[in-house]
Symmetry: C2
Subunit: 175 residues, 2 copies
């Protein structure tokens, strides 16, 4: 039954048209602008115990070199999950205004999480940059269970509205 289901998927995927465009400069600019503007994101991770997907809201920013960054508590569900299984996905781009939220631009990033050490020499600079963009994080940034995590891009899909989906490489996102 599992094999039949997989074959069904394969034959459907073989028939279906590729809905993704190669990125142009405008798509790259839109993707980078969504990353630069985002202050929070949705994170998809893999539960290491069940192997099923989990989802969380995370704070979101860019590290000094433009790499996506988050600040997480070790008490969250996703922190130990990312430590055990670093493959994850991140979505940025909030629906706003009155249009269809599915027609508004968002970026879906495949990434690998790299947990950073609070004791690292570059922690103070990263902390200061984060607080400049996330002032409310001053309440918890120095709690012992909070640390930064880099979300290193593997690839991305920009969905800029119906029939405007682009598949991007990590290099397309670099500032």
């Amino acid at each position: 039954l599992a094999a039949a289901a997989v074959c069904g998927i394969d034959s459907r995927m073989a028939r279906r048209p590729d809905p993704f465009h190669a990125p142009d400069d405008e798509a790259r600019r839109t993707a980078r602008a969504l990353l630069a503007a985002a202050r929070h994101a949705a994170l998809a991770y893999l539960d290491p115990e069940t192997g099923t997907p989990g989802i969380s809201r995370i704070g979101f920013g860019l590290d000094g070199d433009g790499t996506p960054l988050t600040l997480v508590s070790s008490l969250s569900a996703h922190q130990p999950a990312l430590a055990a299984r670093p493959d994850c996905a991140v979505m940025v781009g909030e629906p706003g205004g009155r249009g269809d939220p599915l027609a508004q631009p968002r970026l879906m990033l495949r990434a690998r999480a790299r947990l950073l050490d609070r004791a690292a020499p570059d922690h103070p600079a990263r902390r200061a940059a984060w607080l400049a963009q996330h002032p409310k994080a001053a309440l918890y940034v120095d709690f012992a269970d909070f640390a930064f995590v880099r979300l290193e891009p593997v690839s991305a899909v920009l969905n800029a509205g119906f029939a405007r989906a682009f598949r991007l490489a990590a290099a397309d996102l670099a500032p």
Copy 2:
């Protein structure tokens, strides 16, 4: 090395306090209100080819019996993924206003996707109910590649702000 990493996680999880409360009536009401109000959501799914998490924005509503529901295209990345691997996670509850988005309520649902047939006898009623809440979907609801998917709850976490996280059972979400 993998084993050492896993042991590290296990010992940390054993030490850490359980940050989740048992749900009270207010938590159940908040969770149901978030589900009832949501018109879109973030969906975490498992890529059947790579086994890594993917994420998408989806339209969101409730089916006649209160079960979470979405309308998806077979041209999306998540539709064939859900067909192959129905375990998924859904987040609803949009940050709004000026507060910290991480202090605003959201519900993270673990679910199993059940793809519905457009030819099913109850499709017309479901379609009409969906369009009443998602009027812009009239543009594509009748395209041959679109069909409804029920997202049947397994469990949920309500995060209603710092130190206000509740672990809910599927029964806590039923209207």
